[in-house]
């Protein structure tokens, strides 16, 4: 019996009814969203349910959509069932004002640093994280650099003529 995207979707809907939404399959990977309050429940269900067994957390990252008012930040989880070899993308969104999202560190040890990185880049506050502080950037940094409103370039560079190609 091999697991398919449809079966996963059915099971999720059976469990969470209308709280899981936006099911879509792109490039063979199922993706869905849920309100951020139940993210842990969903992850736990995916982990514990023997027929799903998404026990491998491939990745956590975040995306900043400045134009989606009230849901500017989206946390994306990629999960993997190694036995059935099926992947899943799950995302929750949060606003810039209240960036609290429950942490997945209790479930996956690997979530620890990935959440720290996400916090470092986007300022998402993972509630319950054991050690939520900056990981890649210097501790003194006072902004979240991967949000779209912040510039990429180092402001001190002097040997470039930015004016030339409108990159200034």
């Amino acid at each position: 019996m091999s697991l398919t995207n449809e079966m996963v979707q059915e099971k999720l809907i059976a469990k969470f009814s209308d709280q899981v939404l936006q099911f879509a399959t792109s490039y063979g990977m199922l993706s869905f969203e849920s309100p951020k309050e139940i993210n842990l429940k969903v992850l736990q269900f995916l982990y514990d349910e023997p027929s799903l067994a998404f026990t491998f957390l491939t990745d956590i990252c975040a995306v900043n959509y400045p134009n989606q008012k009230g849901a500017e930040l989206v946390v994306v989880y990629h999960l993997h069932n190694l036995k059935e070899n099926i992947r899943l993308r799950y995302s929750v969104s949060t606003s810039l004002e209240n960036t609290d999202v429950y942490t997945a560190t209790k479930l996956f040890e690997s979530a620890n640093w990935m959440e720290r990185e996400t916090y470092d880049f986007f300022g998402i506050n993972f509630v319950g994280h054991p050690n939520l502080k900056r990981i890649l950037n210097v501790d003194e940094m006072d902004y979240f650099p991967l949000r779209k409103e912040f510039p990429l370039e180092d402001q001190t560079r002097i040997d470039k003529d930015d004016e030339m190609f409108g990159r200034g």
Binding site: M29, H78, E109
Partner: protein, 407 residues
């Protein structure tokens, strides 16, 4: 009666352990990590890592670059095996843009990727040797990495950060010199790998240094998000090349070496065994490439004028080609909307590219799943209770590549 007794250095009353700061310029960290270890004598009680010393904001940088320029960024992820990153990125783009690549391109890519895997494992294993105190084996195998670099140089003109390949194929066909050099490598490398193995694998000093140190169970390893050789050493035969074949890996016959205990010795053996597998894959791929005849033998890219640059002669003479050329270089081709996650088996494990496009000309967001970054957090657990020397060997046998780790 006076009650003040001999005062001891600050902090030593409360604890019997010493704090040892290893890194970021300590030789064991190979540059760029910091480990603050609590040691009781020579035994590691706990440790805390700091990373990010070469954080370069790849993900932000990628948001400002058209797809073809991102190749140069991926070069610098895992610089020991940059072609895998290049190809992985191109495979991601091709999947995203739904480009079919010809078989010959796939096979050539397999050759290059396996060469890169060899050079990656080779550095890791020889550095394990160096960290146990034997420097010479390192220099023996490094000579053969040089041969791999010569092959790269013949194909793309550069040794380390190759910027090799384009979306849809390669920038030029492989020359005969490249194939000759490949043959030379295939002939000579097995001998030296055997020599390297006989220097280490059954040497009791080396076995004692590596066996039972830095071990991890399969369950913990998976929970920590290990992938690649490190996960396989713990006994899980997860390999993206088998699970989700890309670049026609399903056409090849190879095994996935797995260990049992996930300790340093297993990691060393698994990497060595993978090098042997890689050699066999390269041999198969080379045979398959040689089997192409006639016009097929000249194919080195997919026929996609939207993404693959037209021939130079056409650019100089034909208007249509010139227009495509301008459009591609200026990055004026809008991408389709969508999201894709595409993994490849990098030198260290599952190297994933998560690409989000909002229909613009550059990625809206590009996230790299860097295997090093994820499994390095298990380091304190791996070294806990071991000796300081074990911690050093464990660090090198994890094959931490700072460029990939810090992105």
């Amino acid at each position: 009666m006076e009650h003040n007794h001999i005062t001891l250095p600050e902090g030593s009353i409360e604890k019997t352990t010493t704090t040892l700061n290893i890194g970021p310029t300590h030789p064991a960290t190979h540059g760029v990590f910091q480990n603050i270890m609590e040691v009781d004598g020579e035994r590691v009680v706990s440790s805390d890592q700091t990373v990010g010393y070469i954080h370069r904001a790849f993900e932000k940088l990628a948001e400002r670059r058209p797809l073809y320029q991102i190749t140069t960024i991926t070069d610098r992820l895992n610089y020991c095996s940059s072609p895998i990153n290049n190809m992985g990125w191109h495979i991601t783009c091709e999947k995203f843009l739904q480009i079919e690549t010809p078989k010959r391109v796939d096979y050539l890519r397999v050759i290059i990727m396996e060469l890169a895997r060899i050079s990656d494992h080779l550095i890791c294993n020889s550095i394990v040797g160096v960290d146990t105190g034997a420097y010479t084996g390192f220099l023996y195998v490094m000579q053969y990495r040089e041969l791999i670099y010569e092959i790269y140089e013949e194909i793309c003109g550069s040794r380390l950060t190759t910027n090799m390949g384009r979306i849809g194929g390669f920038e030029r066909n492989f020359t005969n010199t490249a194939f000759t050099k490949l043959e030379k490598f295939l002939n000579e490398y097995p001998k030296v790998l055997k020599e390297f193995e006989s220097l280490f694998t059954r040497n009791r000093i080396f076995m004692e240094r590596t066996q039972g140190t830095g071990g991890i169970s399969a369950e913990r390893a998976m929970n920590y998000g290990f992938t690649g050789p490190n996960l396989r050493a713990a006994g899980v035969d997860y390999d993206v090349r088998v699970h989700q074949p890309y670049s026609s890996y399903q056409d090849f016959n190879f095994t996935v070496p797995v260990g049992t205990t996930g300790d340093n010795y297993d990691r060393f053996l698994v990497r060595n065994a993978e090098m042997w597998e890689s050699i066999s894959i390269i041999r198969q791929a080379y045979e398959k490439v040689q089997a192409f005849k006639g016009a097929e033998a000249e194919v080195y890219h997919a026929d996609v004028p939207e993404y693959y640059l037209p021939k130079k002669e056409d650019v100089y003479t034909k208007m249509e080609a010139l227009i495509w050329h301008f459009k591609i270089i200026m990055g004026e081709i809008d991408l389709p909307k969508g999201q894709i996650y595409c993994p490849v088996e990098g030198g260290n494990g599952e190297l994933g590219f998560y690409l989000i496009s909002d229909g613009g000309r550059t990625p809206f967001r590009l996230h790299f799943r860097r295997p090093c970054f994820i499994y390095y957090q298990a380091y304190p657990e791996l070294i806990k209770g071991g000796m300081l020397s074990d911690a050093v060997v464990t660090m090198s046998s994890l094959n931490l590549i700072a460029g990939e780790l810090d992105a």
